[in-house]
Symmetry: C2
Subunit: 441 residues, 2 copies
């Protein structure tokens, strides 16, 4: 495989892995314990402070990553040269393909502390290798989707444009655009996200374009001549009132939109709306950008704003850029031959926190008599027969074959439905407790 | 180009771009202004709150990204199909290669508000296209390097292991490991970072490995038999005191290290050190991990800790996951034919903030008589003849050819030197003002 000059040159996802996963496999292979049937679960011990719910995102990317998790000659050569693992382990890795089962909360679903978001079952060795890449994807994507969901609530039905590519790693940006779409954004400025995931793309113009030209009028003329009157003109490079006047003179009352990127957006939106109306440009929309977060969006609810462009605060998770999801061994067989001997629940027990609940778990979202969610019920073994509600885990991978792939739109639609099924206080932006209690049976 | 099942399938960096860059090129091509000679600069208006200095990182990745910034048939096909730009623009993009000049602060250098971290010169069209990918890389990598630098100061000379891959996007993780290395980390757990950038890798073991086995003793035996007595055993799955006893019994007094990942690390480190010494394992090291940041690291300065593993707080920039760097047109020619007509300084002027200083800039770090930095002096035109100090901008790209590539070690060494040349208060972890004032001439 040639060096493609991509940000990394690995043609597989197998190296998105912490070194200790491989050395643990080596030690377990030698000890004869590598093939013990094991169950790992992804969950969080808590939500980010003040958040009412989490949003599952990245599941589709996890499925892609698992399919590409193979060790080719270049990767094996690297591991050999660096002496990271021994020859028997390299031999085992060379034939690696995940052959187990994965169940999980479907993408777009909401989750709560302790929710078994993903359950990975197979031999210890085949499951432990996936820890890092699964957590990387889900911790990142779910953080962005959670921020996006809050912003979508704050925006009501107004369109949200994802514009954060420049504020985060260039490939995080692509995943962030995808997660934002799941969380309720409508478009992205990131062309790679359009290319890779088919997300609708959008764009306006930058101050540089106005500054390039000899006058603001010349810049607007250049843009309208090329893009048509339906384009969005950026009106805050010099004086906003003059710019709006010029914009309508140049484009006519059919001007698509103007963008405000600085100043007091509430005040400016009212003024610009009035001015546009007076100029007869009643259908010209107002797009606002400039360090928006869910609170700033909410504060503009009463302003004549038609769309929000959001960058930094979206791609950094609005204060919570990661979700603290962990991947823990919760049960394993005592039989070294990989047979279906009874699974033994296991959990870290030391004092000082970070303890977890052992056992292979199910989860049910219990509903009240009006059909509104009232608790996340989690247990191991068989669910009690009287327990009614929605089973949360769905099959994603069966015997190594992906069975849970779906269009991105399905995850996006599911999120709206899942959030809509929560108590109304879920959509409060103010800090508070998780909107559903977690009950262990 | 086949679908490589990488997280994105683009074989170039050209789509790590906001849509408006391309539509601005289209409008400027049509208006005849696309070839006006232009100067763009990367800078920040402020440092993250309380920080004393910033750290330039990602420069080497920017150079890679610019070399790969070309539009192949698949990319052009996408832009055509989505009707993002018109045919003349597609034609122009198909021949695109950046052919201008780039100067910048070398990687590892420190920066302050207003520092012209990167200066990109060429035609408007060729420069504006690079905005998003340059900012993505530098905003991310510099945020991580700044956090790493503070942690390195806090750690004194003790080794720092980067372990954050699971807390951020899988490719951000690779870049984060690189930036952390520039900022002063010693190793990474991320195998892809070892593969791609040659960074030394390290690893220990997880609780899952202990839980897999029938007893802690069996797990330690398995690890020591496979990895040798020099390995690092994780001792906080059950009872730390018993685990340390077992660890030395299994590995002998030549045990490499033990890792503590939970609880009161200060207290535990003292206890475990005493116990190890009593067991004769005087050379066995203690590695601590568990949500460390620069403050937690500093609080362990007096503890018998030999190395720190840092994850979440490193890869999320310790509270500041992005640097708010911007890419602004600061000067351009009024001549449409691309000739070297005089450059006109330009800057956004509207009220409401976000204004910037026009003109193609130089920067000098002025030193006091003891050779300690005392001010970041920035101006345009010719520097005053009496001004002495270090010229901050170095050539990185000349006529489109990369001239500033260097080994990662050079950036890492430079950072130590640059930080060492600042007033001593730079290394205070407490919140404060930038340690150097920015002076505009």
């Amino acid at each position: 495989m040639d060096d493609l000059k991509l940000p990394v040159t690995v043609p597989s996802t197998a190296l998105f892995t912490d070194q200790y996963e491989l050395t643990m496999v080596q030690a377990a292979l030698r000890a004869g314990t590598a093939h013990r049937r094991s169950v790992f679960e992804v969950f969080t011990r808590r939500l980010p402070e003040g958040r009412r719910y989490g949003v599952v995102a990245g599941t589709g990317r996890v499925l892609d990553a698992i399919e590409s998790f193979t060790f080719d000659e270049r990767v094996l050569g690297f591991l050999r040269e660096r002496k990271i693992v021994d020859e028997p382990t390299l031999e085992w890795l060379s034939g690696y393909r995940f052959g187990g089962d994965i169940w999980g909360y479907p993408e777009g679903e909401v989750y709560f502390p302790g929710s078994p978001i993903l359950r990975v079952e197979g031999s210890f060795a085949e499951c432990v290798l996936l820890e890092t890449v699964i957590l990387s994807i889900m911790n990142h994507d779910s953080a962005i989707a959670a921020a996006a969901s809050r912003m979508a609530v704050a925006a009501g039905g107004r369109p949200l444009i994802e514009m954060g590519a420049r504020r985060t790693h260039e490939l995080s940006a692509v995943a962030a655009a995808r997660a934002a779409y799941v969380g309720g954004f409508h478009t992205t400025s990131d062309l790679a996200a359009g290319f890779r995931y088919g997300i609708p793309t959008a764009g306006t113009a930058a101050h540089a374009f106005t500054l390039l030209h000899d006058s603001e009028r010349a810049a607007f003329q250049a843009q309208v001549e090329s893009m048509g009157a339906g384009t969005t003109l950026l009106v805050d490079t010099y004086d906003v009132t003059k710019a709006v006047q010029t914009a309508v003179e140049v484009a006519g009352p059919g001007l698509g939109a103007v963008r405000l990127d600085s100043g007091d957006l509430l005040l400016m939106a009212h003024r610009v709306r009035q001015q546009l109306d007076e100029l007869g440009a009643r259908d010209t929309k107002i797009v606002v950008t400039s360090d928006l977060d869910e609170y700033a969006i909410a504060s503009l609810a009463a302003a004549p704003v038609d769309a929000y462009g959001v960058g930094t605060q979206l791609v950094t998770g609005s204060g919570h850029p990661t979700c603290s999801m962990v991947y823990k061994l919760v049960a394993r067989s005592g039989s070294d031959d990989g047979s279906d001997a009874p699974l033994v629940p296991v959990a870290k027990k030391s004092m000082g926190g970070k303890s977890s609940v052992g056992g292979r778990k199910w989860a049910v979202r219990r509903l009240d008599e009006d059909g509104v969610a009232e608790a996340e019920v989690i247990g191991s073994g068989d669910p009690p027969s009287g327990l009614s509600g929605r089973q949360m885990l769905v099959p994603l991978v069966r015997d190594g074959a992906v069975v849970g792939r779906e269009p991105l739109e399905a995850a996006r639609d599911r999120h709206v439905e899942a959030r809509g099924g929560l108590p109304l206080s879920a959509t409060q932006l103010s800090r508070g407790e998780p909107v559903l209690p977690t009950e262990y049976i």
